[in-house]
């Protein structure tokens, strides 16, 4: 969705289709970049815009001074935007095959999954289902590598100045994910913590990692909850105390999580940097590919600018890291499919371990590297009943307000220094907020130096 912060769909209508096709073929060998396909997309958009009913596109920032792409690049991106709608739909079919439906999969059970495996039954995960999954995985891979990665590198290169904005909080937190053993000590994808400097990376190594468990806290000093405390999730409570927006008091429904007492950024950028620092080969390979492609485009357009690993600490870097992570995950998906098939081949059909809840108080945490970043759920169980349950979710880490020391959260910090060409149409603010892929329907408020609120922005 955030592509439309950078790509001007209306400008795409003015593009020379032949020139677009030749540009596309220079960038990638993707077969659907021909004149006919591009013309079809342009005509479709022309008919839509010509209808005068622009719907959700009517509020867009078409022709905004911060929109810098030439019409041909806009057309190519718009063409791929329409194709991406198809590919995202198709890869979600994998989720539905295993999860019953999507969104909101319904195959999870405490202690495993509800999917029985039996190649000799008609009603379970069968050979036909397994190969359907495999085919869908293979198909989306071509799109990720030949279109998504290339487009992000090219558009990113043409907006290379945006590598200088939006870094914000540069502590990065990510957790290891896709366990390879039942005890949760070996993982396909590594995770850890970067305290501002990638050379100081410290790995998180198991589901029971004490370093991780001890150091997560949340502050409610600036959140609409009763009191003012910094607590570990197991000790938290959630008692609303709404006061509307107070500039120096409480101003958000989101709590403010910290790691080691400081804000940390989570998400694909945190994940990619941590995996890179941990020496994860596919991550290093696709990061290099992204940077190399962007630099090739920069030299193609005669720019002297060049990007490097450091450029990723930025608004455009977060978008690039999301594409890198997608390629890495696709790589891993192929491995995971093979591991599943190998297990079935060995006769290992186990999908569920019946849980037991011992008497007395039990405390637990589960974590996972979700699409928007590190997710953790913290539970206290007393005699088999849940006594406290706290979710510390990715968008909380990034969108959280100031913490107990009044340090700015990642969204807030990332907006400092953003250029804004037109304060009435602050497209640049959206670029930075959308680069986090917010999973919130809350308001971002910008306040000028006299504390007069000037702009309210909905970020989704």
């Amino acid at each position: 969705m955030s592509a439309l912060d950078w790509v001007d769909i209306v400008s795409a209508l003015k593009a020379d289709v032949k020139a677009t096709a030749s540009l596309a073929q220079k960038l990638s060998s993707w077969p659907d970049n021909g004149y006919t396909e591009l013309k079809e997309s342009q005509d479709r958009l022309k008919t839509f815009v010509g209808s005068g009913q622009l719907g959700v596109f009517s509020s867009g920032y078409w022709g905004h001074p911060a929109m810098k792409l030439p019409p041909e690049v806009n057309l190519l991106a718009a063409h791929h935007f329409l194709q991406a709608l198809e590919y995202q739909k198709n890869i979600n079919k994998v989720v539905a095959i295993l999860g019953s439906k999507t969104p909101h999969i319904q195959n999870l059970a405490v202690g495993g999954v509800a999917n029985p495996i039996n190649l000799d039954s008609q009603s379970t995960l069968t050979m036909e289902r397994l190969y359907y999954i495999k085919t869908l995985i293979d198909e989306v891979g071509d799109f990720i590598k030949n279109v998504y990665m290339v487009d992000v590198a090219a558009v990113g290169a043409l907006y290379a100045d945006w590598t200088g904005y939006g870094a914000g909080v540069t502590n990065y937190l990510s957790v290891p994910t896709m366990p390879l053993d039942t005890s949760g000590t070996k993982f396909a994808l590594p995770g850890g913590y970067i305290p501002g400097d990638i050379s100081k990376f410290k790995p998180i190594t198991s589901f029971k990692d004490e370093y991780f468990k001890k150091n997560v806290k949340e502050s409610i000093k600036h959140s609409w909850y009763k009191g003012d405390w910094d607590r570990h999730p197991w000790e938290e409570e959630t008692v609303p105390a709404y006061s509307d927006f107070e500039d120096n008091g409480k101003y958000s429904w989101i709590k403010s999580p910290t790691f080691n007492g400081e804000h940390a950024q989570v998400g694909p950028l945190a994940n990619v940097l941590c995996m890179y620092a941990a020496g994860h080969k596919p991550t290093q390979k696709y990061t290099k590919k992204m940077l190399d492609t962007a630099n090739a485009v920069l030299s193609l357009v005669g720019s002297n600018a060049r990007v490097s690993l450091n450029s990723l600490h930025s608004t455009i870097g977060r978008i690039a890291a999301r594409a890198v992570r997608t390629a890495v995950l696709h790589n891993e998906l192929i491995n995971q499919w093979q591991l599943l098939v190998d297990n079935i081949g060995k006769g290992d059909y186990k999908t569920f371990n019946k849980p037991v809840f011992p008497k007395g108080e039990q405390r637990g945490v589960g974590f996972h590297e979700a699409p928007r970043g590190m997710l953790s759920h913290w539970v206290v169980i007393d005699d088999g009943k849940i006594k406290n349950y706290q979710c510390v979710v990715p968008s909380t880490w990034n969108a959280g307000p100031r913490n107990s020391t009044d340090a700015l959260g990642p969204y807030e910090a990332s907006l400092v220094g953003n250029p804004i060409a037109d304060p009435d149409k602050p497209l640049e603010v959206l670029r930075t907020i959308h680069s986090f892929d917010p999973c919130i329907a809350c308001a971002v408020h910008m306040v000028d130096s006299n504390s007069k609120e000037i702009v309210k922005i909905r970020a989704f």
Binding site: K14, G52, V56, G63, Q88, A109, V113, A459
Partner: protein, 370 residues
Amino acid sequence: MKKQNHFTLDEKLSDISRRDFMKFCGIMAVSMGLPIGVAPQIAAAITNPKRRPPVIWLHGQECTGCTESLLWTSHPSIANLILELISLDYHETLEVGAGHQAEAAFNNAVTENAGKFILVIEGSVPVKDGGIYCKIGGRPFTDIVKETAAKAAAIVAIGSCASWGGVQSSEPNPTGATGIPEFLKGTTVVTIPGCPPNAYNFLSTILHFLTFGKLPDLDEKGRPKFAYGRLIHENCERRPHFDAGRFAEEFGDEGHRKGYCLFKLGCKGPMTYANCPSILFNEVGSGAWPVGTGHPCFGCVEEGIGFTIPQFTQADVENVTPAAAHAPIRAERGAGVSKGSAALLGGIAGAAIGAGAVIAKRLGDADKGE
């Protein structure tokens, strides 16, 4: 006088000269970055009676899963839906602009299409403490729903949250989460419950309306019968196992691995009215629904069952013996079309007219030709 149904612009045009109007279209073209030559095209489009029907979509207390489900359909696809079939004039997740631009788009859409738009609401309305638990642009969702609903031609509540409160309305319901039919008591609201509902249940309802100018038959809860007219239990592929007494007792046990009935694992199929086993999800064929992959139904569409009765609690079953021992397994719920629909209409008791026809009248008959 020629009646304009979808758009009030023709009425406005009677007050302004054609020259002014063309100038307006020229400015519009320039502001959209288009060559000035397209102005006549825009002018023609704005006065075209065949405009795509306007839809305004609101989000309350929800997770956006209902919206997300629409991104993964093929007939129609999301692009086809938005670019060619309807005019999605406001939708917070898909809206390209934000802040003042989004609010202006919303106000324009509501004003220009007053009395003529389909209003879709996703999410419940938190009514407790003056509506503070869901505010958009500084205003409580309670106010936004009331004001917008008053100007809508038809209202569709998508998802269990909008239909009856959904997950947030579970005890102790800290925000006072309320479904749209209850919040707008006395107003006809079509409900498409589910968490999320199958996207085709929503799309088919809208497309039925656009194609035939009326709503499909609804039950007493405002649900289309084509989607919610039968118990899951009645269309379940595992029903023969139920009738034969073959049950899975635990995930992964022998019965589970043989595809036996999930009743003993707490399946709410015998209490839940939905078409999941017949329509399936995400177009991947065989078995793509909860029971199909081995997970009991938890009744996500049904108030008082989904998010309320514990997952492993066994369902109440009305007919536990095969149908041969009984008269009809189960009669149609309600007494046909008009009873269920008429109940929704309140004031029009006894009238031989369905809710769909009334709404169609309000929406105007522009789509039926000149």
